[in-house]
Amino acid sequence: MNKGQEVEFVFDGKRVKGYEGEPIATALLASGVKVFRYTVKSGSPRGVFCAIGRCTDCVMTVDGMPNVRTCITPLRGGLIVQTQKGLGSWGDTR
């Protein structure tokens, strides 16, 4: 199997490694990240559930855009990925 080049991206302010072109979600899982977001009402944690872009449980804020389905969004070096709280907010790249 051909993996992409190893690249670095930022997850919640920390540098994390992954492979270019793999889904953001698998790079995070491989780094031990389980919680991808917290729900709007109860603030309970969610992670990868369907892994094919149907369920939206794995949505995160990516480069300031909330609700990105990380299981089907390819990783690129330098992406800023954040655990999403509720609906997230636009332009949030802290």
């Binding site: 793999e22 491989a30 990868v48 892994a51 094919i52 089907i72």
Partner: protein, 362 residues
């Protein structure tokens, strides 16, 4: 507006096979898929297929996928990837697409919805915790992306998906603490069950998961025996230390576009739930609008490919690219292959319910 003779939503086994068959006959065909690559769910199926000798038995899903991509390329099938078909208008003749941040439309006299299926879930306390996921999801992660969702797994459901994914997780280095099955017997093929039992995995029949617990993620699973009325048997609870719970409790057709278009549906439990009524040629109750594959009732990829071919032939015949005689010959070949796929204990049942579905369409 994009004009084409035949538009297909979904570049999985059914959609590609339809496009391939139509493309060969000279029909101007366009396939639309929301993913980054064609092939649907074939590429996560690294195991050898079962079923009829005549039809792909002994071949791995991934090889079927590769062959399908090669053949479609040869037939000149055009696939628009990374494009979501989100609506259908004008009596099922116009598809609305989202591509990047823009909206486009496709007009076609013939449209096939080959949109596949989605995994069922079980709701139990703790089922939303990170670490609870679909068995198909785990299969995608491990086989396609080579990343394990966790190291200690409880599998819920002993159908073929549960058994095969358990084996593949074992191969990838995870531990399967147990497979639980609510029914009093194993659901899938004996050969798959034996494989994982030989590796020391207990299959607990008449058992189900009662609860998932943990601090912000799955750390424990509580399993209980159930009686014939599906009630938990007191005193039979067992706790397993796990970081992952996979649910292999079936699939349901993804047919939203058929609902939107106004197709008539029937609820058929054996086919996974609500299914668009379709004829022998896979046409829904809306003329020129077809369904095939899991969207037309959950089945095997091999049958999905044949159903797709039926649509491709029918469209080519309608457009006059195949004579009635040529089409009839192709259809009878395809139908006999479907017959052979749908033989044996699982297949017989499927064949009967599919017959019912077609009769209801009239």
């Amino acid at each position: 507006m994009i004009e084409t003779e035949f538009a297909v939503v979904g570049a999985g086994p059914a959609g590609l096979s339809a496009a391939l068959e139509a493309g060969r006959a000279g029909v101007k065909t366009l396939v639309i898929d929301e993913n980054q690559a064609s092939g649907g769910q074939l590429f996560k199926q690294i195991h050898k297929f079962f079923g009829s000798k005549e039809h792909w038995a002994g071949t791995r899903g991934i090889e079927i996928g590769n062959r399908l991509l090669m053949e479609s390329e040869k037939a000149g099938v055009k696939v628009m990837l990374d494009t979501v078909a989100w609506g259908i208008f004008d009596g099922g003749k116009v598809l609305a697409l989202k591509q990047n941040e823009g909206i486009r439309r496709v007009h076609a006299q013939n449209i096939l919805l080959a949109t596949g299926a989605s995994e069922n879930a079980l709701a139990f306390p703790g089922w939303t915790l990170p670490g609870v996921l679909g068995a198909g999801a785990a299969q995608t992660l491990v086989n396609l992306h080579r990343v394990l969702p966790g190291m200690k797994v409880l599998m819920v459901g002993s159908g073929n998906v549960g058994l095969i994914v358990s084996y593949q997780l074992l191969q990838a280095g995870a531990k399967i603490v147990a497979v639980v099955e609510a029914l009093p017997k194993i659901g899938g093929y004996g050969v798959h069950a034996s494989k994982i039992r030989r590796m020391g995995v207990p299959i607990l029949v008449s058992h189900t998961v009662k609860e998932a617990a943990g601090d912000g993620k799955v750390e424990r699973a509580i399993v209980t025996q159930i009686d014939e009325q599906w009630h938990p048997v007191p005193g039979t609870e067992r706790e397993f230390e796990v970081d992952t719970i996979c649910m292999a409790v079936g699939l349901h057709p993804l047919a939203e576009l058929a609902w939107i278009a106004g197709c008539q549906f029937a609820y058929i439990a054996e086919l996974g739930g609500h299914v668009p009524l379709h004829g022998k040629n896979m046409e829904t109750t809306i003329p020129g609008l077809y369904v095939a594959g899991d969207a037309a009732g959950i089945g095997e990829a091999t049958a999905a490919m044949e159903e797709g071919r039926l649509v491709g032939v029918d469209v080519a015949r309608r457009l006059g690219r195949l004579s009635d005689r040529e089409a009839e010959m192709l259809v009878s070949e395809i139908e006999s292959r479907i017959e052979s796929i749908r033989s044996g204990p699982f297949g017989d049942m499927l064949r009967e319910v599919k017959k019912k579905l077609i009769e209801r369409r009239g």
